[in-house]
């Protein structure tokens, strides 16, 4: 069996990629996808820890399923917002939206 370490490395890379994408891309869809990646990195972590540390207890897996449902909901809401932004500004370009300016 591959050790936990590898699982964590993959998860870390996935997380870093997600953060990179979320912070630096201007396309809202891509940001959303990057956030999905971050969440999946977390999922991987949860499943990994669950499998390797408490094999008899499915708590980690259950958490992962929760995260997936939340992620789905979040994606739906996020896409709806992006749709509104796209209609309003003509593109899903997040750098044009500056309504949060103080």
């Amino acid at each position: 069996m591959i050790p936990l370490f590898y699982v964590l490395v993959v998860s870390t890379l996935l997380f870093a990629l997600g953060v990179y994408g979320a912070l630096l891309s201007t396309n809202a869809i891509r940001i959303l996808m990057s956030i999905e990646m971050i969440l999946n990195a977390v999922n991987l972590n949860l499943v990994g820890f669950g499998r390797y540390i408490t094999p008899s207890d499915p708590r980690g897996q259950i958490f992962a399923i929760f995260v997936m449902t939340v992620a789905a909901a979040e994606a739906a809401v996020g896409l709806a917002i992006i749709l509104v932004i796209a209609r309003r500004y003509g593109a899903a370009a997040i750098d044009r939206v500056r309504m949060l300016k103080g």
Binding site: I31, R98, K101
Partner: protein, 642 residues
Amino acid sequence: MIEQAWIIAIIPIVAWLIIFLFAKALKEKVAYVGILAMGISLLLSVLTFSEALGGTVEKSFPWAVVGDIKIPVGFQVDPLTAVMLLVITIVSLMVQIYSVGYMHGDVRYAKYYAIVSLFSAAMLGLVLANNFFWLVLSWEIMGLSSYLLISHWYEKPEAAAAGMKAFITTRIGDIGLLLGTIMLFVYTHSFEFNVIAEKIHAGEINQGIVTVAALLVFAGGVGKSAQFPLHVWLPDAMAGPTPGSALIHAATMVAAGVYLVARAYGIFVATPYALFWVALIGGFTALFAATIATVMTDIKKVLAYSTVSQLGYMMLGLGAGSYTAGIFHLMTHAFFKSLLFLGSGSVIHAVHSQEMHEMGGLRKKLPITYWTFLIGTAALAGIPPFSGFWSKDEILLAAYRSPYPVLFWMGVATAGLTAYYMTRAVILTFFGQPRDHHKYEHAHESPPVMTVPLVILATLAAVSGLPGSPFLHNAFGEFVKFGHGHEAEPSSFVMIIAISAALLGVLAGVAIYGYKVISREKAIRSWRPLYLVLKNKYYVDEFYMAIFVRGTVLLAEIVGFFDRYIIDGLVNLVGWLGMQLSFLSGLFDKYVIDGMVNGVAAITMALGNSARRLQTGFVQSYAITLFAGVVIGLILIQLIGG
């Protein structure tokens, strides 16, 4: 009737209520309500009087339980009360009938009648009360009526000011009465005159305390009866309607001070020192006011100072030890002085002026007024056999028998001056040539509704002295007396002196004003300083104005300033100091708050301005900040080792 004597005081209250509530509907018919009520009261008073000849009645009921004491409500009818009831109801009835003519067409006709009824009720209540509490209560309501009547024509500034002056001046005296009442209660545990007198008579109370209490009670009398030094309000009170002055400021209310001393005589006799002061103040006021009256040219002012003087006379009689003499003079004075006032009202009604220099020769135009006025003058001047002679004689007799001869000579001098100034007034008004022809031509005798009361009062002024004369075996003295009555032996010396003083006064008046033996102008010129002092009433008003009125107003201004700037300033200073410590207390002062609020706001603004640069609105920069924050947080936790 005597058992229900309190009804006498209730009837005018009912009249007052009716007048007050239905003034608009009744218009000038309100007069009949007042007159009817007073007529009934008079009738009941006569009944009560006749029953009082048989014995006295006193009744008390509990009125209020206060803590551990009880305040009673009660009335009594003794000879003093019986006489007072008669005097008040007669004079009040006459004045109200007379007013129908005099006040006709007045803007506040109903208000006038309402006040007169209220006043009559209060005065009747006063003489019926058997305890100090109810006496004080009625006393103050009389003061209110007096105030309202003086400022009846309140559009005139002097009338408004005179009302206020009267109320406040008498109130200074009232404070004395109030304190005296409280003091007597504290030491005797009773408000009732008889109980207090008994306890004092039994020697239960320290002599010093009795003296102080008596002097305090007397202070009330000084205020109400316009004795020196609180006499200043009465002459100004003449700004009110003349018949009202006749009732309140001549015949009845001002005599309440005398009545008070008589009612509390049981306290006064126990302390010769207080009694001496009563006599001294009375005697001094009598002389003092009489001298002023000699130079007044306003007919009402002459009568006002004469009233002050005669009230002093009554006080002199009481103080000299003769209860009977004081009350006897009170009664005769009530009749002849109200007569004189109503007579002067009739003159004023005819010529529309109060200045005697604008009158003259009115004898032919106003015959009834002239004859009745003359009778009043004779009574006041003490010409036998008119009423004033008998009562004055008794007072002089009492003063003569007292240990202080100065009192007697004060009385004699006053008697002479009284005769002089009244002669002067009669001559200036009714004799000689008319000095203002226009006014003279328009003068006409008053209608019967005014002259009939004059005639009735003139009759009383003429004969009311007889009950106290030797012809009726001094019946008055037998009836109204203190204790067993120890009236002084009549003295022919006193009688001769009194008659000669009066005649001398009359002669001097006739000589100066009738035959002009001495030129008035020349006399004024050679006695100018004295004339000025008298004309300006010894500058007492000016002195009070400068010291007390201005002083109080100045004190008030200082306190107002102190409050506004020092106390409030201190509060604001505390606030300012507090602000250094905390923000909340910094809100005290308006300017400091503004500064503080603005300061805080400025800092917040500055912070906000720099902070808003961070707020790019660029979502991802927020996310970076967030992420960086988390990373820094994690590193910190690692470093600290949490």
